[in-house]
Symmetry: C2
Subunit: 339 residues, 2 copies
Amino acid sequence: MLHVAEAARVSVATVSALINGTATVSPELSQRIEQAIRDIGYKRNAIARSLKMGTTRTIGLTVPHITNPFFTDVVSVIQQAFDRAGYAVMLCCTDEDLNTQDDQIRLLLDRMVDGLIVARVGDGAILKGIVDDAKVPVVLLDRICEGVDTDTVVLDNERAVFDAITYLIDLGHRRIGYITGTSDISPMHDRMTGYRGALEAAGLPVAEELVRSGNFHEIDGYNATMQLLSLHDRPSAIFSANNPMVIGTMKAIRDIGLSCPEDISVACFDDFPWSDVFQPQLTTVAQPVQAIGEQAANLLLDRLAGNRDAPPRKLVLKGRLMIRNSCRPLGAVVQSVSA
Amino acid sequence: MLHVAEAARVSVATVSALINGTATVSPELSQRIEQAIRDIGYKRNAIARSLKMGTTRTIGLTVPHITNPFFTDVVSVIQQAFDRAGYAVMLCCTDEDLNTQDDQIRLLLDRMVDGLIVARVGDGAILKGIVDDAKVPVVLLDRICEGVDTDTVVLDNERAVFDAITYLIDLGHRRIGYITGTSDISPMHDRMTGYRGALEAAGLPVAEELVRSGNFHEIDGYNATMQLLSLHDRPSAIFSANNPMVIGTMKAIRDIGLSCPEDISVACFDDFPWSDVFQPQLTTVAQPVQAIGEQAANLLLDRLAGNRDAPPRKLVLKGRLMIRNSCRPLGAVVQSVSA
DNA sequence: TGACATGATCGAAACGTTTAGATTAGCGTT
DNA sequence: AACGCTAATCTAAACGTTTCGATCATGTCA
């Protein structure tokens, strides 16, 4: 900018005024300055600007795994929304690890991000501190965090799983295997509650040997399914509370020589693009990814636009059961007692 | 930092020296400073540091669509690699649009990213300028860019498709539909060359009505497939040069009442996690995503580590044909003349 | 014609770091 | 006792912006 000012024989203040339109500058000088900018190929240094202004027009986004199709979609939507608003997005993957998440949030804050969208957080100490100190606005996604009071958008996980399990019960299934992630994060907890709730509502016992938990990855789903299928009284249906793990489930079913839905019915959480073109077409609980991403982005953009003092807003969205052909009716259909 | 210095009754220079270890500071002062840092909860401002140092420890990454599973995986790998190295990653999606890409690269450069990984670029004017002016190191991914001479990692697209088409020919297919993206970017061009090459090598004619191009999206694949299937002499196999488009292909086949592989064989570019658990299990050309991401990251990290003057390095990786059951043998198997 | 508002421009401080060079104190040599 | 050397610390400039307040010319009104 100094060079531009010199070339145009004006002060840097005038150049700044012209660029930002913060003051009127005469047509004559305007032209000289614009010419100089072109000649020199001047580009404003956003870092210096950020330092002075205290804002970076950058937000931080952390998710557990970008390869989980739910997060892939959400990241995509959020990225687009902020792109439109002129913000850059710094992306971090926490690998479901709390320490990693804290480190990354620290990294993002050091870099002075203007806001944060955090998906699937555990009870991160750092996060709690940030939100309490009200340094930058934070939006929580997909997960409620104990004692952290800030904008949040989550799914009604309990209801979604309740509906899915009830659907299986209505089909006549009585022994329904359930595969969950580690239950210390709220969606997993709530989904589990939905599972138990549906069984209880139908007057069915909750058999603990039918509930298996893993660490969100395909291999965990594989192992869990292997265990379920080798029970002497094996389940007639399996619900996987996590998308990557259901791949493991399908592989285990295949490897053990069974087939879906003939021998065993399968349903899972999170829809994916291929779900209705291949066989079996998986019955899934679809999250409204577009809405989730947009709402999260809007909440944060609203705060960034200056609406700092409004009380925390909690959005709870509904999942949708996508019924396809991976679950088969079992004997006589019994009506369950649904809420 | 000023507050810390005051609290510890030292100069800011001493604080800086301690934090960065750039000079020895006495145990006495060290302790006072560390105490002050804890008391105040001081965190170094990375923006001010960047301004002074001229480096942000941030890189820019642009891809066409993060929802394309190939890019999802590559982004994931790259993100991890830079995370390990202490770099932040700014992610942009170009939606296959050249102007968008130029805008985003400009945005990233304004923010003083230390380096750039650009995937699937067209002949972006901005990009050419950047690389030529040698401001920041750039690594090109998945795509060669005319006249831009910089580190690159690409797949041997021609060979990969050549092999896939040859496989179909070996199965007895003679009329093989081919669905491509817009052919102005090199992978699409090279894949097409592979297609034609395989047909020619087998002494088969290239029927232009069997080649359809779309704009990378599912709907384009759907439309293209509909056209191919309504030809009076329809193809016995379809190869889709892009992953999202093959979903459209499968849907079109289903909607028209045919089935794969019984009525029509299908293969495509880019593998995905579900490919071997559902029916039909798609035969695909798998790219070594892990290696591609890691190599790209390493090339850039190497430049960032100071190796600026080494001549541009071009890495060409091999695809792998994953043969599954979506392509069926057709009549007598004929040996093609393969290179 | 003097007072005054208006509009255009500029000088300089500030944002929070890093770092070169200056200063000071302590200590061993001669 | 004067000297130089080393180690520890500090002062101040710089990075590239934005912005407050000052300056100055010009036109308007009484």
